[in-house]
Symmetry: C2
């Protein structure tokens, strides 16, 4: 039986998520927004019976057993941890920092019987499901290079807000780059150990963002990740990933993920998958666009939108497997990113930002314990002692 | 009147260059090859009356006033410098090292009345001629990002030779990357001041390259160049260029050069030029493929081949402007890369290689005097003195 759903957020993702949930048979009982007006307006539009701007009203709602959190990154950790704490299943967007992600991991480990997945939806896109299967079957041989580019219009909200602020989780790297980092580790089956990158903010002010306000989040970013063979330096084996993100290109999104290996290559362009084996003439279409009947969302790349739709279907399968409203089966959502994956992704994002400042390759070291707020003090004392 | 031509080289470029010269009305009088057999075979095939394996026989040939040098990079410097020294006009490929390039610059400066251009042909491709004009006219607004990718089949010769050796000027960066470095400085009108890169050799051995022999030249390379605002660090203004080269992709070449600015973008795909201004729907075709009637060369990207053809036409215009066989007009070849440009390109190539070893951003410092071979010794003495 499907659980009742509470949705946090009134942005473009929440706006498209609710109809997708409803179409799969989920009942959305409650909606949270930052203001009563925002929540009320969208609840009315989407036919949600209850709305609020107080998070506990959704978390404690008796009919809500699955909480979907699509809100500004700095608020995600608190809602997600609280939701797990009172026994609700959680699907959420990434947090703003690695420390926040680590706190979410701790909560998820504490409640292993609850569903806790990061709503990164690219893994669920049929093109990437097929790509992963073909990679495992050896279509490209030994993987050498992943080459990803996402180009599109500005990711900034019209008015000043978190999307403009690097420290609040705004910017192309955090918003879109993180989904690519997650996808590549899922496709390749290994993680980045060293990264290098450069971030830029070409558009620092606009008509509505002016005066003393300045955009600090990146609208252009390229980064490289070295994966596999973790002991090796920049010059030796393993997989090289290069990712170019550019959100100074109004018009349709370009979303291309290419994996090149010793025996061929696979390329996902938008939601379609192409392949070419070495020695064959030309590319073959491996998975076409099956025809999207849902809504188009101007500020969301089509692969994200359709991946979201596939994830909601997977959620239905997961919950339908059991009679009890809160229970879920692991298998249909087994490919979803866990909170541990979310922590890894956030760690890479922060390493890329560090690299952009230092100009150097930076190691990816996933946090294993929460940093002591007195850490710097302790270190200073330690140095004095020796 | 067109000068008689002597051609050095029997590789794929020389093989396609001779018919292009002949089609424009140039008489090719002499051909040099590394062995008598190679030279004799190709001379017969292409209808060249004289062939030799001794370079002086071409340089001193009384009917030769223009020398075209398309030979392995380590041999280029000597032939080019000698040719200028005995009063011949020179079109040549890049040298193997910055020191060699510097010696060529010195010779070219010494004989300013002689033509001395680097046969980098992308600048002459009509798509790039149009792109440069549109950039100067402000089509894209302020240039922010250049994004280049060249994918194609292996650049290695079938048997072991210079193409396999990094130190002899083999590899994707030196062979193809250098043409992109030159093109971007020509398009943008400024030079790289800092670069970062990573080179890899995925295919180290093959059927014919085995045993103790190993390929050391790169078959995969990505690099970034920061151009303009030369005083600035990695985090501030100027133009960011990212270049990805991958020659582990059998099949047709992909050759894409994109320039993104504040008001729109221009993309050359192969030999065609597309553009999109911000606010307009979709791309417009700005320059189509005019239909190539010449030969196809499997190991040369089509933009290089057609650029070569346009360069030969420009050479004809340059020499036709005067009655005397040795005289030439500057204007038709004004856009050609000079030997100074060749030195800059080689300096960038070496900085990218240094960056791949160090993992750090490297400065591009173009040599202004020939390095003293006792330099290291002097430095050591200096250190001891202080």
């Amino acid at each position: 039986m499907l659980p009742g759903v509470g949705v946090f957020g009134t942005g473009s993702t929440a706006r498209v998520l609710v109809p997708l949930l409803q179409a799969e048979g989920f009942e959305v009982h409650a909606l949270w927004g930052q203001s009563e007006e925002e929540a009320g307006g969208l609840a009315k539009e989407l036919g949600i019976p209850f709305h609020t701007s107080r998070s506990d009203d959704v978390l404690l709602h008796p009919n809500v057993h699955l909480v979907c959190i699509y809100i500004p990154p700095p608020m995600t950790r608190q809602i997600a941890v609280n939701a797990l704490g009172i026994g609700k299943n959680v699907v959420c967007e990434k947090a703003a920092t690695a420390v926040d992600s680590f706190k979410m991991v701790t909560a998820a480990r504490y409640y292993p019987q609850l569903l806790s997945i990061v709503g990164n939806t690219l893994r669920f896109l049929p093109a990437f499901v097929a790509m992963r299967r073909l990679l495992m079957e050896g279509y490209v041989g030994e993987v050498q290079v992943c080459d990803v580019r996402v180009y599109g219009p500005s990711l900034l909200d019209r008015s000043y807000g978190w999307t403009c602020e690097e420290l609040m989780g705004g910017g192309g790297l955090h918003t879109i780059g993180s989904t690519i980092i997650d996808l590549l580790s899922h496709l390749i089956g290994s993680r980045a150990h060293r990264v290098h990158g450069l971030l830029r903010t070409f558009l620092q002010q606009s008509g509505s963002i002016c005066g003393i306000r300045r955009v600090t989040s990146d609208d252009f970013c390229f980064f490289q990740m070295l994966m596999g063979e973790s002991g090796s330096g920049a010059g030796s084996g393993g997989v090289c990933c290069t990712v170019t993100l550019n959100f100074n290109m109004p018009g349709a999104f370009t979303h291309e993920v290419m994996v090149v290996g010793s025996a061929g290559r696979l390329v996902a362009r938008g939601t379609e998958l192409y392949g070419q084996r070495n020695g064959r003439d030309g590319e073959e279409l491996l998975l076409g666009d099956s025809g999207w009947v849902g809504p188009e969302v101007p500020d969301m790349p089509p692969p994200h939108l359709r991946g979201l739709s596939s994830m909601v279907t997977a959620l239905r399968h997961s919950f339908q497997a059991h009679d009890e409203r809160r229970s879920w089966a692991r298998e249909p959502v087994a490919m979803a990113p866990t909170f541990e994956d979310g922590l890894y992704v956030q760690t890479v994002v922060e390493a890329v930002k560090r690299s952009s400042r230092s100009g150097e390759w930076e190691c990816v070291e996933v946090m294993t314990q929460e940093p002591d707020p007195n850490h710097n003090l302790c270190e200073a004392l330690q140095r004095n002692k020796n």
